[in-house]
Amino acid sequence: MIGSANDMSLVQAALAGDTKAWDRLLACYERPIYNFALRTVGHHDDALDLVQETFLSVYRNLHRFSGKSSFKTWLYTIASRRTVDLFRRRKPTESLDDSDQPMDVHLSTDAARREESPVTALLRHETNRHLLRLLRQLSDEERMVVELKCFGEMTFDEMETALQISANTLKSRFYGALRKMKAMPEVAHVVS
């Protein structure tokens, strides 16, 4: 169960060295963080690296988590900072165009696990790939704001704290991204 009170008790137990509590925190949040990373960086391998870096950072800073915000918000704050670091590290020539192949590898991994039928996995994969293509047309900064606002459900004030960028700038980026999306023909494809 993902909940603030429950998270707080799990955090305290993990700080005391309880590996089961830490494993439960990982089990709750590793998939949302992986999907967050996949949408923002658009690449399967980079997304997995981000998951590892995020949770490493979370564990190292776990004693600083005061519970003022929810654990989820705190986690997304760390994940977004690690993503911004990755954007800075990434060479300007590197693009997200090669995201098709890693997603294909991932699809076969899913099928092997038999969590769902191959057709369902294929349809999910195709839908997600269209959304990734759509997000790829936004700049890194715009994609990050759209991700945190739309999928992370964060307020602009929370995003201001997380990214250390003024709320007005974030709003400007977000509404700029919305105007871009209005003009994109791919949106109709994703929605259909």
């Binding site: 993990a14 060295g17 309880d18 590996t19 830490w22 494993d23 990982l26 590793e30 998939r31 949302p32 992986y34 999907n35 996949l38 949408r39 399967h44 997995l48 998951v51 590892q52 949770f55 490493l56 979370v58 564990y59 991932h106 991994t109 899913d110 099928a111 092997a112 696990r113 038999r114 969590e115 039928s117 191959p118 057709v119 294929l122 999910r124 839908t127 997600n128 959304l131 759509l134 759209v146 606002k149 739309c150 999928f151 709003k171 977000f174 509404y175 991204a177 919305l178 105007r179 871009k180 999306m181 209005k182 003009a183 994109m184 949106v187 994703v190 929605v191």
Partner: protein, 225 residues
């Protein structure tokens, strides 16, 4: 209400909220933002979370405690040591009618025989272990091959079914379209044939009238004309 306030409300309350409707009618920029918000909400709802692949969870988090059954790690070593001692001291444990007896050492011939037997036993054990290992590997490979085959077959069947259903729908649509078109064409041809028949009828009646007129005219006036 300013554009900034309206845009905040567009996202929070939805692009169709009554509080922003009046502003959207007269502001092109905010209309674009509203359309984008609608698209983004719909597109994000279409996203289905990808399952996370295996990753190195042990690399993060508190240190894992050592395995509680630590003695199990040392058990093979202890057994080896015991066997070595038993062999080195040529110890023999026996039981007869008078009770248990422990004997150290052996005659030279017996000792040589024992060593040959031990060597043979060790070789047998190694060969047996190798055979078992090969058998297990082959069994695993076979299981993997069967799993893979079954999975591929299932994927092909699912895809074929999916494609078949889609093609059947397309064919049904095509047949309906062709039937409609054929009926329309037939009606058109019938209509045109009827028109030709009517025209033919009309021509014939005109010719009859003309012939009657010619017949009723006096021969002189006909010659003058």
């Amino acid at each position: 209400m300013s554009c900034h306030e309206v845009r905040d409300r567009i996202w929070e309350e939805g692009p169709d909220a009554p509080s922003v409707a009046a502003h959207l009618l007269r502001c092109e920029d905010c209309r674009e933002v509203a359309a984008g918000a609608k698209s983004l909400r719909a597109a994000s709802a279409a996203w289905r979370d990808e399952p996370i692949p295996a990753w190195n969870r042990a690399a993060v988090g508190p240190p894992r405690p050592a395995h509680s059954r630590r003695w199990a790690t040392w058990l093979p070593l202890a057994a080896c040591l015991a066997l070595t001692i038993l062999t080195a001291f040529r110890m023999e444990i026996a039981r007869d009618a008078s009770g248990w007896s422990v004997q150290f050492g052996a005659t030279k011939n017996e000792s040589q025989l024992d060593q040959a037997q031990v060597t043979s036993l060790i070789e047998d054990a190694i060969a047996s272990s190798e055979r078992q290992m090969v058998y297990r590997v082959q069994e695993s490979l076979e299981r993997l091959r069967q799993d893979s085959e079954a999975h591929t077959k299932s994927l092909i069947i699912d895809l074929a079914r999916y494609t078949r259903e889609e093609r059947a729908e397309d064919m049904a649509r095509l047949v309906t379209t062709w039937s409609d078109r054929r009926e329309r064409d037939m009606a058109l041809v019938e209509n045109q044939i009827q028109n030709l028949i009517d025209l033919n009828q009309s021509n014939r009646s005109t010719l009859y009238q003309l012939a009657n007129m010619m017949r009723s005219m006096p021969p002189s006036s006909a010659g003058e004309e």
